[in-house]
């Protein structure tokens, strides 16, 4: 288990990480998801030992490793731009961590290694391991090339190979896919997930791409403004966002956020048909409605004016305006019959799909809604 405890990081006056605590159980695939500048890369570098926290500790299996350098923590890392050594061949790139770990300084001197039998033995075993890993990653025929002669995808595999070769305690991936083109990204996504399944080692993956995070991970930690806003499974993250900001961040189509006052026991405006149930409601709430849950229905409870239609093929994104001026986006099946823009349109939403947040704090409310006939 890799544990970050109360990690704070300041650069000069600005604090970029605020008291972060996170457990990464063995064998899990955890993504740190957040927009650029949220501190996720800094946090990863602290886990790696490349950066030192201003305060807080990093533990591995309960042992404090805060004072250890990256190599002593035995972490592996794949960088966004791959960071391959341009002057070494693919084989040498992958073998370097092995040589550094398993050979003494004088054994690494080129001439000595040729003379000493034991060293030759080690070299041979390294060579075999490098070859096996390269074979597994499909780059077996590139071992003698220099990185500059490889495509982006091949470089990426070399970087993974270099991380894989020495059986690390944890894999750290810093936006490893963002330099690849779209098709390759989808393929590498699957390959990384398969790699995780095969090695059984913990993966910590930093990304700003929610599709990546959701599709590959067991757990996603959404990082916003230097804090972990929510740590959950991808499904829970989508179904039960803990805050308004998380709700706004997660989802292919950005969520509709509607600010409403809570009047005596009911909601106002277009949502008059919905009544709170269960827990207390704050005096002002923000409703979160995902466009994909808000669909046209002649019997729907919400009425608005259709402003504009973005036809996307399989579906259509509808832009509507409620009588009070609030803009709403709705996702309709592509084949749905629509009135011309300017006409009114009714929408329906299941009350279970409406997220309720406290307008003031942004926190999710425990209360739910039920629909009553108007």
């Amino acid at each position: 288990m890799l544990t970050a405890r109360n990690i704070t990081r300041r650069f000069g006056q600005t604090e970029v990480l605020h008291d972060i605590t996170l457990d990464i159980p063995d064998g899990t695939f955890t993504s740190l998801l957040g927009p650029s500048g949220c501190g996720k890369s800094t946090f990863l570098r602290i886990l790696a030992g490349l950066d030192m926290p201003s305060s807080g500790r990093v533990l591995m299996d309960g042992r404090d490793v805060s004072d250890l350098r990256p190599a002593e923590r035995n972490v592996a890392m794949v960088f966004q731009a791959y960071a391959l050594y341009p002057h070494l061949t693919v084989a040498e790139n992958i073998a370097l961590p092995l040589a550094m770990r398993e050979m003494s300084a004088w054994q690494r001197v080129p001439l000595v290694s040729r003379i000493l039998p034991a060293t030759r033995e080690t070299r041979r075993s390294h060579h075999d391991r490098v070859a096996a890993i390269a074979e597994m990653l499909g780059i077996g025929d590139l071992l003698d090339r220099k990185p500059a002669a490889l495509s982006g995808g091949q470089q990426q595999r070399v970087a993974v190979g270099r991380a894989l070769v020495r059986d690390p305690s944890v894999f750290l991936l810093d936006e490893p896919l963002s330099n690849l083109d779209a098709a390759l990204r989808v393929q590498m996504r699957a390959e990384l997930a398969a790699l995780h399944a095969r090695t059984g080692t913990s993966f910590v993956h930093v990304t700003h791409d929610q599709t990546e995070a959701m599709s590959m991970s067991d757990r996603v930690a959404v990082m916003l403004a230097g804090r972990i806003a929510q740590l959950d499974t991808p499904r829970a993250l989508y179904a039960r966002p803990a805050t308004r900001d998380v709700a706004a961040f997660i989802g292919t189509h950005s969520i509709n956020l509607v600010d409403l006052p809570v009047e005596s026991g009911g909601l106002g405006g277009a949502f008059a048909e919905f009544r709170p149930k269960g827990a207390e409601m704050p005096s002002r709430v923000t409703l979160g409605l995902r466009p994909e849950h808000l669909t046209p229905d002649p019997a729907g409870a919400i009425e608005g004016r259709l402003d504009q239609v973005e036809y996307l093929g399989g579906e259509a994104l509808l832009h509507l305006r409620l009588p009070d001026g609030t803009a709403l986006r709705s996702l309709a099946p592509g084949e749905v019959e629509l009135p011309p823009p300017g006409e009114s349109l009714r929408l329906t939403v299941a009350s279970a799909h409406i997220h309720i947040f406290d307008s003031e704090t942004g926190a999710r409310c425990a209360a739910t809604l039920e629909q009553v006939a108007a």
């Binding site: 030192m52 805060s66 004072d67 250890l68 350098r69």
Partner: protein
């Protein structure tokens, strides 16, 4: 127990940067401080002790004819070399830049020829110059004789010798300045010339005054500073050809500091000469900084 990470990292930085930093202090800043201190003493190499004599060395330097001569000679030398080698370097660079388009091989060959003095060993070339200007066997002397002009005593005429050395200095630095100006010229975008010709600036001279010269501003400053610092350092030709003579007619600051310090072992006085030399270089740097501040709009 592992040492605190911050201490370990600091020790690593010390291990990496420390030797270089120590060498820098030991071989540059400490000596500069010692020279500054020595310049206020009457210390002689080998002497058991020395007296503080305040600014006496400087007073002597500026009042004694030989000290003043070293300083004025250095300034005369620089006053010839800086403008002449810059103007010639610029002219050659513009010429070569112009023909590079349609005669690239010739341009490259000529560029190599002009640059050759920079790569050559100056002591050896100084001897070659001495032979070229030799009163009896020199080629230049012979050529002048051939056209019926009696050659002046380039290297033994007290009034002429510093200018002869300056001419050699120009010969040595034209190629260097040419290379720097060529780089500056290559960086001028071609569309500026198009724009200038649209605006009616068509002749070579107008093109030069409207585009080339203003755009070369920063390069020119850079070249001027380098040429100046190199000119103030003139030593090899003096030491090889004239040894400061005849009399002290071709004495320069660095040669004087060598002679006073290491031939006559007057370390105190030589240190004062050194400080004046350093002062000249610092003035150049200061001028450069001033000019850069004023010319930021070129960047």
């Amino acid at each position: 127990m592992t040492l605190d990470r911050r201490i370990r990292e600091a020790l690593i930085s010390l291990w990496l940067a420390g030797p270089g930093a120590a060498a820098m202090i030991l071989l540059i800043f400490l000596p500069v401080a010692i020279v500054a201190a020595l310049s206020l003493t009457d210390y002689q190499f080998g002497a058991p002790s020395a007296q503080w004599i305040g600014l006496e060395n400087y007073a002597r330097l500026f009042s004694d004819p030989s000290g003043r001569r070293a300083l004025t000679n250095t300034l005369i030398y620089a006053a010839v070399v800086i403008p002449a080698s810059m103007a010639l370097g610029l002219a050659v660079a513009i010429g070569l830049h112009g023909i590079a388009g349609w005669a690239p091989r010739l341009s490259a060959m000529l560029r190599a020829a002009y640059f050759l003095p920079v790569a050559a060993t100056l002591v050896a070339m100084a001897i070659a110059w001495q032979m070229l200007l030799h009163p009896s066997i020199g080629l230049v002397t012979g050529l002048l004789d051939g056209i019926g002009v009696s050659a002046p005593a380039f290297l033994s005429d007290r009034g002429l010798v510093i200018y002869t050395l300056a001419a050699i200095g120009v010969w040595q630095s034209v190629g260097y300045n040419m290379v720097l100006f060529l780089a500056g010229l290559a960086a001028i975008p071609a569309h500026l010339y198009d724009a200038a010709s649209v605006d009616g600036a068509d002749g070579p001279w107008t093109r030069f005054t409207t585009v080339t010269w203003p755009m070369l501003g920063p390069t020119t400053l850079f070249v001027a500073v380098i040429t100046a610092t190199n000119a103030f350092r003139v030593f090899e030709t003096v030491a090889t050809i004239t040894k400061g003579g005849p009399g002290f007619a071709s004495d320069t600051l660095v040669f004087a500091l060598y002679r006073e310090g290491f031939v006559y072992f007057k370390a105190g006085y030589a240190s004062a000469l050194t400080m004046v030399f350093l002062g000249l270089l610092l003035i150049v740097t200061l001028l450069k900084v001033r000019l850069i501040e004023r010319r930021v709009h070129y960047r």
